[in-house]
């Protein structure tokens, strides 16, 4: 879902459409994760993205753009154009869609499921699932190839049908390749390692907090306002944190060995199973629809609808 959304957002460079997409996703995410969590994690990003958008404002100046004013008029530097403004806004939303999509995936999917999705299991996958994979990947590639190389394709053959055929074959080939990669998956050792990583973060944070508390309780001032002094205070905790972490690593190794981890890794089984459910199919359809809608909109020349509206309103 995250990849697909990222992809779709790349298709549009129009603040109205992208904004609509963004708010749709936001509603979904807020429903699944909770407004508070999202707000908390995206706050710092707003600043970063705003800076980034400003930067874009400077660079995104298509030829023949309508010039409004200079930010530094005395040097004729940093012109602001209508297109630049509109597109920077679109970009801002685009970044957020990517971030929001990642957040939603991470917050709603148990880390174990996520890892499981990446890990190799018995090869008895259902045909249905294979087909869905191939369908998604083909659709994605088909659209990219058409978008990216449409001019080159036209050079090869002006016949639309031939061009279509070539891109279809190319897409299928890449789709098959990526399916092969996906189905191979990560070896279970790496899958488990990633999963361990996920569940260890919380433990290590707790541990660090305990150690810092212990330092404070022994008369170490840790609550400095000055960041330099704060760093220095933190450094004194590094020795116990280091040893506690090494200790933790050894304990984890013992824990998984004790649970027969090296019994027969290649053939280990899994309690969790991943399968496509009704909602997954609904989501898939919606995404595919959006994808083709995006292509269609661009094809029909409505891709810059905001610009078009503004121009027709003010510049006639």
């Amino acid at each position: 879902m995250f990849f697909a959304l990222t992809f779709i957002s790349l298709l549009f460079l129009d603040p109205l459409i992208i904004g609509a997409l963004f708010f749709g996703l936001y509603a979904l995410a807020a429903n699944a994760v909770g407004r508070k969590t999202i707000a908390q994690s995206s706050k710092p990003l707003i600043v970063i993205f705003t800076v980034f958008s400003l930067y874009n404002l400077y660079w995104l100046r298509p030829e023949g753009a309508i010039h409004l004013f200079y930010v530094f008029p005395q040097w004729n530097f940093f012109p602001i154009t209508v297109e630049g403004l509109i597109r920077s806004m679109a970009l801002f939303f685009r970044f957020f869609i990517v971030v929001l999509a990642i957040h939603t995936v991470l917050y709603t999917t148990a880390s174990a499921d996520l890892v499981l999705g990446l890990t190799k299991r018995d090869s008895s996958r259902q045909l249905k699932n294979i087909l869905t994979y191939v369908a998604i990947v083909t659709a994605l590639l088909f659209s990219t190839i058409n978008l990216a190389w449409s001019e080159k394709l036209q050079n090869i053959s002006s016949n639309a049908a031939v061009a279509f055929g070539i891109s279809l074959v190319a897409s299928l080939a890449v789709a098959a390749g990526s399916y092969w990669l996906l189905s191979k998956g990560l070896p279970p050792e790496i899958g488990i390692t990633i999963s361990l990583g996920f569940s260890t973060v919380g433990i290590l944070t707790q541990q660090t907090q305990k150690i810092m508390d212990a330092q404070k309780a022994r008369g170490y001032e840790m609550e400095y306002k000055n960041p330099l002094l704060r760093m220095k205070a933190f450094a004194s905790s590094l020795i116990p944190i280091f040893f506690a972490t090494i200790d933790r690593a050894e304990n984890i190794a013992i824990a998984i060995l004790t649970r027969a981890f090296d019994f027969d890794i290649r053939n280990r089984t899994y309690r969790r199973t991943l399968s496509f459910q009704r909602n997954d199919y609904v989501m898939l359809t919606v995404l595919l629809f959006l994808l083709f809608a995006g292509l269609g909109v661009n094809y029909l020349g409505w891709g810059r609808i905001t610009e078009v509206i503004i121009f027709s309103l003010f510049l006639n």
Binding site: A112, D213, P240, I256, T269
Partner: protein
């Protein structure tokens, strides 16, 4: 006869160690036997357990002499994974064994590795959750469970693997008294029902002895006694290694035939042999009354919540007076640690106020408060920041700005106080568990705190170390320090502290002298505390006018001597 486990003249020396951790071990365990392994910390119990699934010598490097056979498999030649499918090993600290994002994943991890089919895994997870009373916890994160729940989870994870041999290395060291009883009886029940062998290393003899077939006592790497329960008990105590439960020792002093572990067995044996007289009023032991000092900690209407939703403390009022020695008791997760963290300012009140030595904790920092309020943490490893004992001791006084001479004087004094004189230059990392705990205590003492807070000082310590720590606490208190101790060791708390504060769900449910708390069985049970057996015996002697709050063996012996001395058939002891 078939043997599940065979140690043939086994010695193991860890890499870099001078002396062997276990030496000349010869041990055969029959299928279905339930064996207790006991002995002081550092006796080699954990090493012995680790031999069984091949962690020694395959993971822990060192030299293994002799041969260990598990179900006929040589542990030197068989992979740990294969041995682990036969031997289910649970270690002391549950937190370090939990590695999965949810409880259900944790339990499934073993069976997954053993390539158990999917449907069977689901069935086993269900079953293990049921046995360990963890139903409803499936999706919880293991590291956010309470100590007792974590231990239950670690054990459930091993149950689900259906091993042939169960090995439990001090599985109850983090648990409160009722939790201990529950976990021990659960382990033994499962092993017996499945007809499997069980080895259990444990210090809590009163609870475990009724459940086992055989007792193996270890000291300094060697097996010093290997016998049936009756046999092991009748051979008497071994100083610093094996101290029999108090009622057994009492029975011996009174020359009773039986070896009663619990009051229910002791009482009939006693009345059979002796006719008991009643105590006259002036023979009743009198509790000494100490005058209350000035209030030095005043907590009013304290509320705290970690997540803004669930209250960790919910309206606590507590006044602590100069020179008191009090214990803070309650289940795992009842708010004990949260409460004491407010006293040295690690936590600031969300609502209410905390005044320590006349100062509001919101107006100062922990580092400032630390000059007056010493705080000893549960895990001493978390507070050691240096490599040499001397440096560790000097840290506190340095932050007070004392001169070198004074620092040295105080360090020497503190080290002597905790019985570690002469270890000034020792390597911190090389110290044993008990010594680390005492060093942690000493390094707080160098700051000469007026108030000392000790959070679970005896986790994972053997009875001797526990007694040492409580003796240190008592001496400190006698020298004028106000001491608050959080502990699960209720019998020690009852013997050493005068005042009990019991917390439940963030509220104080009892605050008063230890005596009445000790005799209130309902209050104790509700808070997962259990009466010591001596106190239970006292309750049975209520008809003889014996006060109900007797805790120690010596007190009980005094009382019984008087009861018997007055008896008509004239048995004198």
């Amino acid at each position: 006869m078939e043997h599940d486990i065979e140690f043939a003249d086994v010695s193991f020396t860890y890499e870099g160690a001078k002396t062997p951790a276990i030496e000349n071990i010869n041990l055969k365990v029959r299928t279905g036997e339930v064996v207790l392994i006991t002995g002081p910390s550092g006796a080699g119990k954990t090493t012995l357990c680790s031999c069984l699934n091949g962690l020694v010598p395959q993971f822990h490097n060192g030299v293994l002499k002799g041969q260990v056979l598990v179900k006929g498999k040589d542990t030197k030649k068989t992979r740990v994974g294969v041995l682990s499918s036969l031997v289910g090993l649970v270690f002391q600290d549950p937190e370090s064994q939990l590695i999965s994002p949810t409880v259900a994943d944790e339990i499934a991890f073993g069976p997954e590795n053993l390539a158990v089919p999917h449907d069977e895994i689901i069935k086993r997870v269900e079953e293990s959750l049921e046995i360990a009373r963890l139903k409803g916890f499936e999706e919880r994160e293991p590291h956010n469970l309470s100590g007792g729940e974590q231990q239950a989870c670690a054990i459930a994870a091993i149950f689900a693997m259906y091993p042939e041999i169960y090995v439990m290395d001090e599985p109850t060291s983090n648990l409160d008294p009722l939790g201990t009883q529950h976990v021990l009886s659960m382990i033994v029940k499962v092993a017996k029902e499945r007809g499997k062998t069980l080895l259990i290393a444990e210090h809590k003899l009163e609870e475990i002895l009724p459940l086992v077939d055989r007792v193996v006592i270890m000291d300094r790497g060697q097996i010093v006694r290997d016998d049936t329960v009756e046999g092991a008990l009748s051979k008497g105590d071994i100083e610093h290694v094996f101290t029999r439960p108090s009622l057994v020792r009492l029975a011996e002093k009174l020359q009773l035939e039986a070896q009663p572990l619990i009051a229910e067995q002791f009482y009939p044996a006693l009345t059979q042999k002796y006719k008991l007289n009643g105590l006259t009023v002036d023979e009743r032991p009198m509790a000494e009354k100490k005058d209350k000092g000035d209030p030095i900690i005043e907590i009013r209407g304290l509320r705290h919540s970690y997540d803004g939703i669930n209250a960790a403390l919910n309206g606590v009022d507590l006044t602590i007076y100069q020179g008191e020695l009090l214990s803070i008791l309650g289940r795992n997760g009842s708010g004990k640690t949260t409460l004491v963290k407010h006293i040295n300012g690690l936590l600031k009140p969300v609502e209410g106020s905390v005044i320590v030595l006349g100062q509001d904790t919101t107006q100062t920092t922990t580092a400032q408060l630390a000059k007056k309020v010493g705080f000893c943490f549960q895990n001493p490893n978390h507070q050691m920041i240096t490599f040499v004992v001397k440096d560790e001791l000097a840290l506190g006084p340095k932050s007070l700005g004392l001169d070198q001479e004074e620092i040295e004087r105080r360090s020497l004094q503190a080290l002597e106080f905790v019985g570690m004189a002469g270890q000034m230059e020792a390597d911190v990392m090389a110290l044993g568990k008990g010594q680390k705990q005492r060093l942690a205590l000493a390094s707080v003492l160098t700051m000469k705190p007026e108030i000392l807070i000790i959070d679970e000082p005896t986790t994972g310590q053997d009875p001797q170390m526990t007694e040492d720590i409580f003796e240190i606490i008592r001496r400190l208190n006698e020298e004028g320090t106000t001491v608050l101790v959080i502990t699960h060791k209720f019998d020690y708390a009852a013997a050493y502290t005068e005042r009990a504060v019991i917390l439940a769900n963030g509220r104080i449910v009892y605050d008063g002298p230890m005596g009445p708390a000790l005799t209130d069985e309902e209050l104790l049970r509700a808070n997962s505390l259990a009466q010591p057996q001596v106190t239970k015996l006292a309750a049975k002697l209520a008809a003889q006018n014996v006060p109900g709050d007797i805790i120690t063996l010596d007190q009980m012996y005094d009382v019984l001597s008087k009861l018997i001395a007055g008896g008509q058939d004239g048995h004198h002891i």
